[in-house]
């Protein structure tokens, strides 16, 4: 999978806002916020031609003190929430 292109990640207080900058009409009511770790993951996969849950788990392991099991569980949760928000596409 990969992320849909055209989103900009902007800091918003303690969180980050994903703004669909490629569209002419930006709807702030349907805006997606990411916490710090999700934003870290997003930044690292936004330009990747392809990634999977193991890619995210490895990124979490490299940055945070978590067990491999916890990292994989968090990676799956992140992917599920991005899929719910229609941020991902199959290649």
């Amino acid at each position: 999978m990969k992320v849909i292109p055209g989103f900009a990640l902007r800091p918003l207080g303690n969180e980050y806002l994903l703004i669909a900058e490629s569209v002419e009409l930006v709807n702030f009511n349907a805006m997606i916020t990411l916490n710090e770790s999700a934003a870290y993951l997003w930044r690292n996969v936004a330009d990747k031609p392809s990634f999977d849950e193991q890619t995210l788990a490895d990124l979490l392991l490299a940055e945070y003190e978590v067990s491999p099991e916890q990292a994989l569980a968090d990676a799956r949760k992140t992917i599920a929430s991005w899929q719910d928000a229609h941020l991902l596409t199959d290649i």
């Binding site: 806002l17 703004i19 569209v23 002419e24 009409l25 930006v26 709807n27 702030f28 009511n29």
Partner: protein
Amino acid sequence: MQLPNEIFIPEIARLVSDGKQVQFTPTGVSMRPFIEGGVDNVTLAKPADLQVGDIVLAEIQPQHYVLHRIYAIEGDALTLMGDGNLVGTEHCTRAQVLAKVIAIHSPKGRRKPLTRAWLWRHLKYARRILLKIYRHTCI
């Protein structure tokens, strides 16, 4: 209409200055009966060709934003007022106007008429009664 998320507004202003249109739901009651806070969506665009009667997003003091109607223009100086307010105006310059409302939509997506509210602007003394009727019949 006071905008609660001051942190959002600079982002909106940036997008608008980049030429985007931005939709969001403002809060507050100060633009009744034309905008119902927390319910209606407004669409903002670059503040071109400002005229009396336009609804604008302005930074009237640093990090203090209002979405109010222009009631007077004298050269570079604007007087703003909330349609739902009985008293109180704000003053700013054209440069402090970040965006202009180009459409208002109800939650069902229906487009509400975007008027310059000529009659309403001149009905200041009857507003108390009209707003009372609006609160009791339309909300």
